[in-house]
């Protein structure tokens, strides 16, 4: 049984259903033991719906929990789920160090560019001009580009997908085969607080790209800056290299 009996409480039509279905599809193909860790936010409800051991942990602390599990049991397949608040605000120091450590687990960020569960405050990836009750004059600061951040931090597997069943399922497979920290940024519109305004139609799958070429990966990453409505949005693996694995070095 991949699913628990708990009934999902996401909004009808939420893109988290796509991600959940993608994870399910991936898990159906797996024979080895998996464990999951989630943070706090809408994404974290994944823990309630997927019948796997692990921890629905504190806000921002998915990464160190996953690392602790991998150190204790290097053979265990661990998938961490975070939101953009979890990954890029509360827990960003862990994210940068995770790229440095290169512990062998998969990390999926449900980036909906908004704090949804606390009803619509801006996160580090929210675009300038975004207005909500806590930000009446609009967001002033530019968002971070998570792909560029992870490339500069030395992450050994950097990918981006759209919140789509097949894309999720496929990238999880590739991440599992990668030995090291697999960072997957998921563009996930929030249908209530941060809907997709022409993002999906601008996406395209990365082709004819040397994934070991860091400067080429950086160039691809710069095509979408999470701000304006112009340009194409590349999806797929930006960068993948071999690097020593943290738990094997201890």
């Amino acid at each position: 049984m991949i699913r628990t009996k708990t009934k999902p409480t996401w909004c009808p039509g939420c893109f988290n259903f796509q991600i959940l279905a993608g994870v399910e599809q991936y898990l159906k193909r797996q024979k080895e033991q998996h464990a999951i860790v989630t943070g706090i936010g809408c994404h974290a409800k994944m823990f309630d719906y997927i019948n796997l051991p692990g921890l629905n942990t504190l806000h921002g602390r998915v990464i160190p929990t996953c690392i602790g599990m991998k150190i204790a049991d290097p053979k265990l397949n661990v998938i961490g789920f975070s939101g953009d608040g979890d990954a890029y605000a509360e827990g960003i120091s862990h994210l940068i160090h995770a790229a440095r450590y290169n512990s062998n687990f998969t990390y999926l960020v449900h980036d909906n560019q908004v704090f949804a569960l606390t009803v619509s405050q801006p996160t580090p990836t929210t675009e300038p001009g975004f207005i909500d009750k806590t930000t009446p004059f609009g967001v002033k600061t530019p968002p971070i580009n998570p792909i560029k951040l992870m490339l500069s931090a030395g992450c050994s597997f950097v990918a981006r997908v759209y919140a789509d069943v097949k894309q999720i399922s496929n990238i999880l497979e590739k991440a599992k085969k990668h030995k090291g920290f697999s960072f997957i940024e998921v563009i996930q519109p929030c249908i209530i607080f941060h809907p997709d305004i022409g993002v999906k139609e601008r996406t395209y799958m990365i082709k004819n790209h040397d994934t070991s070429n860091l400067s080429a990966a950086m160039k691809l990453a710069e095509e979408f800056n999470y701000t304006d409505g112009k340009g194409k949005i590349p999806l797929g693996i930006f960068y993948q290299i071999k690097k020593p694995v943290f738990e094997e070095l201890l």
Partner: protein, 497 residues
């Protein structure tokens, strides 16, 4: 008999090596030795000193006055001469520390062969060291003719070494930490033990204390035995995850080594200001155990008990020490009793930071919430019941005295050393939570509380737990960031008895 030796100089001149050489030789001559360390937050220069006391009977603190002053620099003389008397022997001059080692061996009439062997064990710089030591030895005459006593095979360690050794003995799998004085001693000891292949555990430094405790939780969930260590500031950062262990039922041993706060405070000195964070930190209501060792022997016993209880009840166990315990070295003729450590009963399951239902998913159902809270309260009751079978406090001194001293942690040494000169019974609390019922011991007594802080949290704890109010004038509180000497205790207790 008792002698006090002060060894002072600049950071980097090696007062620690010198103290250890002298201490080990005294121990092999049958003497009890204690030394404390006073150092500043700098790498080279400044003024550091070690204060070593030795006696033919057990000793666990310093007293006032200097019998022998070893000055590795001029500043040491200027600063400490006021504590010397006419009989004090002063070794100074621009000599390397091994010259002074040789000199003191001659002054105390200790066998030069012992020093030679010690220098051989040191390995590095042997030829230079032995040359300097020989010169120093020849430069002096014997002034204190120490009798050779029976070698008692005393152990000689500091609190950091004791905690590390007991953690290994308890089957430690992982020690996670971020460097912070005075908890760094355990990080160093456990890293070195790994290097020397004395244990299969791993010592891992993470990027900050929040990462430290959450990584520890990840490993503990898998069923490994895990400890983290830090001081007050780092403990504050760990607090949210401490509460997580409470709701999720994840065992964890936390070593909290106090130094004077608030803020960065006085980072290389000592205080007992953090009892309340050990007892109360973390949001929500959850059971925990808080253990306060008074010397390295107890640090060993209580560390083993911290592992035992945290694993058995799946709760956080906090060992609260301080800089004085962590870094002072104590000789002991006891072999501490360690409780046998069983394998972890924790295995990978569906843990949750939320209140969870029976399939491990988050819930807000009132019935389940009440049930979960009752389970935690039940744990607290069972824990209290079982700890009654343990030594949760010690009694020393005059059994039927009308005066009762109550204290916890590293003040123990100075109080014990003061007892022969005062009329008092001394109750040393080792279990701060669950708190032992010592009401009977306190009935109709003149109660005196001794603490290394300014607001006496122990008095508050006694009022809360035993409904007894401690008279303000009976609180002996020292908050200059230095430990008590036994004279401090004698003088202050005499004013109140």
């Amino acid at each position: 008999m008792r002698y006090n030796v002060l060894i002072g100089g600049q950071a980097g001149q090696g007062p620690n090596i010198l103290s250890d050489l002298i201490a080990k030789a005294l121990i092999s001559n049958g003497y009890y030795v204690f030394y404390s360390r006073d150092y500043q937050s700098l790498i080279r220069g400044g003024h550091n000193f070690n204060f070593l006391s030795f006696s033919d009977s057990p000793i666990a603190s310093n007293s006032k006055g200097i019998d022998l002053l070893i000055a590795l620099d001029e500043n040491t003389i200027n600063l400490h001469k006021k504590n010397c008397n006419k009989k004090s022997i002063i070794l100074d001059g621009n000599h390397p520390n091994m010259y002074h080692a040789g000199a003191i061996f001659k002054i105390l009439n200790m066998d030069f062969k012992i020093l030679d062997n010690e220098l051989k064990e040191l390995k590095r710089r042997y030829n230079e060291n032995i040359k300097e030591a020989t010169e120093g030895y020849k430069s002096q005459k014997t002034k204190i003719n120490l009798k050779q006593l029976k070698n008692k095979n005393l152990s000689f360690m500091n609190g950091s070494q004791a905690i590390s050794q007991a953690a290994i003995n308890s089957g430690l799998d992982f020690y996670y930490a971020y460097p912070m004085t005075p908890a760094t001693g355990v990080l160093t000891e456990l890293a070195q033990a790994m290097k020397n292949k004395k244990s299969t555990h791993k010592t891992i430094q993470m990027e900050n204390e929040i990462a430290v405790i959450n990584t520890a939780i990840g490993s503990s969930m898998i069923g490994k035995k895990v400890m983290v260590g830090t001081s007050g500031g780092g403990f504050d950062l760990m607090t949210e995850a401490l509460s997580l262990t409470g709701v999720a039922g994840i065992p964890l041993v936390i070593y909290l080594s106090q130094r004077p706060g608030p803020g960065t405070g006085v980072p290389t000195y000592t205080a007992q200001g953090d009892m309340n964070i050990a007892l109360k930190a973390g949001h929500g209501e959850f059971p925990r155990i808080v253990l306060a060792p008074g010397d390295p022997d107890e640090a060993m016993t209580l560390t083993s008990e911290a592992f035992y209880f945290s694993q058995k009840y799946r709760i956080p166990a906090i060992i609260i020490g301080d800089k004085h315990l962590a870094e002072s070295k104590y000789s002991s003729d006891k072999s501490p009793i360690l409780i046998e450590s069983k394998n972890s009963i924790t295995k990978l399951e569906r843990f949750n930071s939320y209140e969870k239902d029976k399939e491990g998913s988050a819930t807000d159902e009132p019935e389940i919430i009440i049930q979960k809270i009752k389970e935690r309260l039940q744990k607290k009751q069972e824990l209290k019941k079982e700890t009654k079978k343990f030594e949760t406090y010690n009694i020393y001194g005059t059994k039927n005295s009308k005066n009762v001293i109550i204290a916890w942690g590293s003040t123990k040494g100075a109080i014990i050393d003061a007892l022969p000169d005062i009329d008092a019974k001394f109750i040393q609390i080792m279990y701060l939570e669950p708190f032992p019922d010592i009401s009977k011991e306190l009935k109709n007594k003149n109660i005196i509380v001794i603490e290394n802080n300014a607001t006496s949290p122990l008095s508050d704890l006694i009022s809360e737990q035993l409904q007894m109010k401690i008279d303000n004038k009976n609180k002996i509180l020292k908050y200059d960031s230095r430990e008590f000497s036994s004279d401090d205790i004698v003088n202050e207790v005499k004013k109140r008895t």
